[in-house]
């Protein structure tokens, strides 16, 4: 079933490339020019990818992908993946507003907790890791880490 889904996604990607490349495709004499049509090369790749996806889909159907169409999903495990993804996403979004220190402390605390660490572990390591990375990047390599828009506003 995995191969069936993967090939379907790759087909969709190929079709999307064909449609989206219309905006910058050369017209007229250069329409079929590999050298001068900026859309020709991506379309060539997309066409090959589509053809390979068809082969993979055919192979997976022959192996009975459609007969055994049920995908077993462990909801608990999947929920954990989503939670972690969300934590990282919020960290990336929040770092601009709350700054490196607050966002990092929160992200590491939640990460340790979601991986099954105790509250004490999470509390200790969120400070240790945040400080260690601050020392390496901000002090050691002089890479400015975001201070946060909120603090800039107060100032």
């Amino acid at each position: 079933m995995n191969d069936f889904v993967f090939s379907a996604i790759m087909m969709a990607v190929s079709l999307f490339v064909f449609i989206a490349s219309e905006t910058f495709a050369a017209k007229g004499n250069n329409a079929f020019s590999l050298a001068y049509n900026p859309a020709f090369y991506p379309r060539l790749i997309a066409f090959t990818l589509f053809a390979m996806a068809c082969v993979l889909m055919f192979q997976s159907i022959r192996k009975g992908a459609l007969k055994n169409a049920r995908i077993h999903v462990d909801r608990q495990r999947l929920a954990k993946v989503f939670k972690l993804f969300l934590i990282v996403l919020l960290y990336i979004v929040g770092i601009n507003y709350a700054g490196y220190i607050i966002s990092s402390v929160l992200c590491v605390f939640l990460s340790v907790a979601i991986y099954g660490g105790s509250r004490k572990q999470a509390f200790v390591y969120c400070i240790v890791i945040t400080v260690a990375l601050y020392l390496v990047f901000q002090i050691g390599f002089r890479i400015p880490l975001p201070k946060g828009d909120i603090f800039e506003y107060w100032r």
């Binding site: 590999l34 790749i45 991986y115 390591y125 990375l133 890479i143």
Partner: protein
């Protein structure tokens, strides 16, 4: 410039700071390699941003230290807990772990260390001799040959990656599509930008590779229960590692044979330490007098795969330095580090950056010597790191992935790219699609397109005539076309690939032998 001159030039670049960074890189590589679940590829990916502010020589040599150290480090956990720290150590555990269970953990790790160092040093020697010769030939390549070499590299990495070859090639083509985002190399128009200024420069491949190799592993790890993530620690003390020295003379043929195997397999673009270790172990089993004892704790069963997988490092660097094509996933990531520092790996390096080439030779030489002096006395301390709770390590890596990506260009957009590729990498692992071809395609994609379109412009529309003409008149183009075709058709002809991820899982946990039956073959 000869190899000897390059060596001399290289020594002049090694100052205390450079040496310290090679030392730190090697130490970091050994530690990461020793921790199951963290691979050398991931380590190099997440350390690349740390080296951004360093000089090119310092950063590349530090990353080479991580590469060499990471390849060796896997043997420590393979011997102690029978879980290879890196995939290339899968065969080491077969004999290393039974020997450790017999109370000879120090001897097992000592032999793994010595074999790794010998294999690594041998490969550096071969690299320094052969890569200038190959580079000299490659300098004469024109657009079509360069495109052919890149396509060959991409098809080989798809073929040798674990899982289906078709899916590997599809992953490579997906990477090629992603590489087309941004400005067109010939006309200069924006492609797939969707009005975003962030996409004008294309997708940053360092962010993509940190996502694919770092973040995706963290997303996969969270699925496991705490028990699945943590591993049982062997209470055996790691002592008398230097005791392995007295067996080196007896095993010199094993070490030489396996090092040669490692270098050859490493030099095949796309192949890597795992295949080298499996091949060297299999070869040793065929030629050994004690083949019936292998898998029960023999020293040659440790020496053969370890010499081979570390000999792969020099082998894998040979196509990278001479052709600009990576020999394995780690060297694919290393290309990214080169490009960040404005160096384009390939035959031109020998004329434009001979100092960098020479520094690489010396850096790899030193990294292997450092492995000896960290591994032998330090294995007992490194083995204690296996006790670090996985939740702490994972949280640290997540933070490092995010801040590391941000640090490259101070761009939150790149951090979003990293997370997106982390998600893509996670889904690809679920579908058992290899990720290395995507990174390689992201790196080689612009070069492939530029050369193909340059050739097409010169062909003036007569593509087939020009192509047939080039194939028939130029032996390099012909051999490149035949080799690529052979790699693409191999899975259809041979029906089955030589190994899959499931095989690796099986072999890494297979040796469940009664300690009383373990025989130390070299004493017989």
């Amino acid at each position: 410039m000869g190899s000897f001159d390059l060596y001399l030039m290289g020594w002049q670049l090694i100052d205390p700071q450079v040496f310290l960074m090679i030392f730190l890189g090697t130490l970091l590589g050994i530690i990461v390699g020793a921790l199951p679940g963290l691979t050398a590829t991931m380590a190099v990916s997440i350390i690349v941003p740390l080296t951004y502010k360093m000089s090119p020589v310092v950063s590349i040599l530090m990353l080479l230290g991580v590469y060499c150290g990471g390849n060796y480090g896997g043997s420590i956990s393979a011997c102690l807990i029978n879980i290879p720290g890196t995939p290339s150590a899968i065969m080491t555990g077969l004999d290393g772990h039974p020997l450790a269970r017999r109370g000879k953990a120090g001897l097992a790790i000592g032999m793994a260390t010595l074999a790794s160092v010998i294999g690594g040093l041998f490969s550096v020697f071969i690299l320094s001799v052969f890569s200038p010769i190959i580079a000299n030939i490659a300098l004469k390549f024109k657009s079509l040959e360069i495109f052919g070499v890149a396509l060959f590299g991409l098809s080989v990495i798809a073929y040798v990656s674990p899982g289906s070859t078709l899916k590997g090639i599809m992953a490579g083509f997906f990477g090629l599509l992603v590489a087309t985002i941004g400005f067109d190399p010939t006309i200069g128009v924006s492609r797939f930008g969707f009005g975003s200024t962030n996409l004008l420069g294309g997708i940053d491949f360092v962010s993509a590779m940190i996502g694919l190799f770092g973040m995706s592993e963290m997303l996969a790890n969270i699925e496991k229960t705490k028990k699945e993530r943590d591993f049982g620690f062997l209470q055996e003390k790691v002592t008398k590692t230097w005791g392995a020295l007295k067996y080196i003379r007896k095993l010199k043929a094993v070490l030489l044979r396996s090092s040669i195997v490692g270098v050859i397999i490493g030099a095949i673009p796309g192949a890597g330490g795992t295949i080298a270790a499996i091949t060297a172990y299999g070869l040793q089993k065929k030629v050994s007098k004690y083949s019936h004892l292998m898998g029960q704790g023999t020293l040659e069963g440790i020496a053969a795969p370890e010499a081979a997988n570390n000999a792969c490092t020099g082998g894998a660097m040979t196509p990278l330095l001479s052709l600009g094509i990576p020999g394995d996933a780690v060297t694919a990531v290393l290309i990214g580090a080169f490009i960040i520092h404005g160096i384009v790996p390939g035959p031109m390096m020998y004329t434009t950056n001979p100092d960098m080439v020479s520094a690489i030779f010396i850096g790899m030489l030193l990294a292997n010597i450092i492995i000896l002096f960290i591994g032998m006395p330090g294995a007992k301390y490194i083995s204690k790191l296996l006790k670090i709770p996985s939740q702490i390590l994972n949280a640290l890596i997540i933070a490092l992935c995010i801040i590391g990506t941000f640090a490259i260009k101070n761009s939150l957009f790149d951090t979003c790219v990293m997370l997106t590729f982390g998600g893509i990498g996670y889904l690809l692992s679920k579908a058992k699609v290899p990720k290395a071809p995507i990174v390689l395609a992201l790196i080689l994609g612009p070069m492939m397109e530029e050369n193909l379109r340059r050739w097409a412009a010169l062909a003036e529309g007569k593509y087939w005539t020009e192509f047939v003409n080039a194939v028939l008149t130029n032996p390099v183009t012909l051999s490149m076309a035949l080799a690529t075709l052979a790699v693409l058709l191999a899975p259809i002809i041979m029906k089955k690939k030589h190994f899959s991820e499931d095989d690796i899982q099986f072999t890494s946990t297979a040796s469940d032998i009664d300690p009383n039956d373990i025989i130390f073959a070299e004493k017989k």
